[in-house]
Symmetry: C2
Subunit: 345 residues, 2 copies
Amino acid sequence: MKKKTTIYDIAKEVGLTAATVSRALNNNPKISEKTRKLVQETAQKMNYEQNTLAKALKSGKSYNVGVIVPRMDSNFFASVIRGIEEELYPKGYHVIVCQTHDQENLETGNINSLLNAQVDGILMSISNAKSKSNVFHNIAQKKVPLIFFDRKKEIPGVSSVTIDDFNGAYQATKHLIEQGCKRIAHLSNNRSLEIFKNRYLGYKQAIIDHGLEFDEDLVIETFSKVSEGRKTVKKLLKMKNPPDAIFSSSDFSALGAIQEIKDQGLSIPEDISVVGFSNEPFTKFMELSITSVDQSPIEMGRIAAKVFLKEVDSKTLNKESEKIVLQPELIIRDSSLKVKSEASA
Amino acid sequence: MKKKTTIYDIAKEVGLTAATVSRALNNNPKISEKTRKLVQETAQKMNYEQNTLAKALKSGKSYNVGVIVPRMDSNFFASVIRGIEEELYPKGYHVIVCQTHDQENLETGNINSLLNAQVDGILMSISNAKSKSNVFHNIAQKKVPLIFFDRKKEIPGVSSVTIDDFNGAYQATKHLIEQGCKRIAHLSNNRSLEIFKNRYLGYKQAIIDHGLEFDEDLVIETFSKVSEGRKTVKKLLKMKNPPDAIFSSSDFSALGAIQEIKDQGLSIPEDISVVGFSNEPFTKFMELSITSVDQSPIEMGRIAAKVFLKEVDSKTLNKESEKIVLQPELIIRDSSLKVKSEASA
DNA sequence: TTGTAGGCGTTATCAT
DNA sequence: ATGATAACGCCTACAA
């Protein structure tokens, strides 16, 4: 095992002290230009590399931040993570990504391991609003900045970056109404999570504002999976008075809905129009492209990272938490465009 | 900033020495049952948590491993990562995931930052075979185990876990031939990467073995993107003697191919059959499901992790690198099944 | 401008 | 079985 060079080795080499070497390496102002150069060149020659661990131990900072997401194989979360990376890498931080797979025990476990690994902050999208909030107290106690993105939870002093889900849902529903749909079903999801509650509320408000009848039976809780979308639509189509449109809180269940509708011999968007949520890439690539709501995930990630940077630097405990809300954008495509006056996306 | 409790605090509390506390906490055999209990209970009471950084500094191990992939928003890589996590978390390791987006400079940068962060190992799928191999020498020098998965490079002493791409391609092509296809095109990709070279070779061998004519013009290098698949097919269909089947080295370009074929008014699989590679979830969900080659990514991840664990523990420098090759599985679906004798998947 | 010395939290090696 | 001490590599008062 070839030993790594340390500042002591350099010190010996140039006939100085480790302290001086340290200062020279860190561009400390009170060091002579001559020694600075000498030290830096020698360091280079000896292949010196700073021991991050030692520095972390000393400074109390690990320069690691943890990112917790339900899953990372969705374009949405992968893109948020990319945004975070873009912002944090240049500042010397590393990003440790953990997945919860929507399981509460994994969520708790991940948080604890991250804290234990001494991350300097945690950026997360929560899986379950009911998760024991004492885990979050743990985070707060350690003065580790916590930032929620997308799926948040209302905790005093914790910042968040989300999109205006209410408005996204409102726009989507309004669009369907403008296309002439009268009975719009909603594939909702676990409404203990704010995002799904707000999508539901936006949908409801649009229905009411446009003088349509709001029918609670048309709202069905559906997991964000293709198979679940199918299942729900099967139920909906059995109603005496089936819907003529579906606004889904997820692209995945929207896809399942589309498959089931087609299988039953109905056509889209003529018989039933469909709108999803998240603008996953496949919505664009389908033979029948799917109308969806874009959430600008990369920007969401970048902003969340910026909030973290701000909080981690402020020694002052001005726990003025920020609540940033981005505006979503409705992308209209085949699955909902009956009036083909304009080209579809 | 509430100070964290250290073993010194515990020592003071119970009137012992830090060393003893450390031993008690680590279940060192030569410690009295009584003190062990006392210490452990006191530790609990004082909310003691081991400082991983200090331990890492002392032991020289960080209990972090780096995983580098071209991208993490593909089901394939996300699943490999999940497999790695499943194997490594129980052993106390953390997984730091980095993306290269197929850019060489990012790849090099990621490797260096990971090394700098003192990861105990690197598991990666390379982006570019031409990447300066001195980066890999860096890794070797530091005695950090390096394990390739899926996209590897032949480096002495480096283990790898891959699938038998040759055979996967061979089976896929053979299947197309059995369906009656005579002129099979191949959407290849950067063949400086072994996986793509082997898929090409398997394809070629199947053609030859079954007495068909091998036509180099039917092999076109195509990036793994939907838009690129479209572009390539456009070219292919302009030939005087266009193909009656397409074997793509990627599901994404296969999807683009399908879109273009349909747009030109041809039908699948009757006019042109299509087979992809990777068994991405969307291949199953399309209205016209896509035949593809499954690579058992989760298992690949688990095995790669196991190889790492073995290497990291073996102080002995028995650099007998392992080359593990998994067998792929052809999943036959609508896009290539002309003879509808059996139910499709 | 540079050196000295101590500490970050742990563990390992000697003693006792 | 337990204590004392040093060491991992770095940084930073404080001194000179």
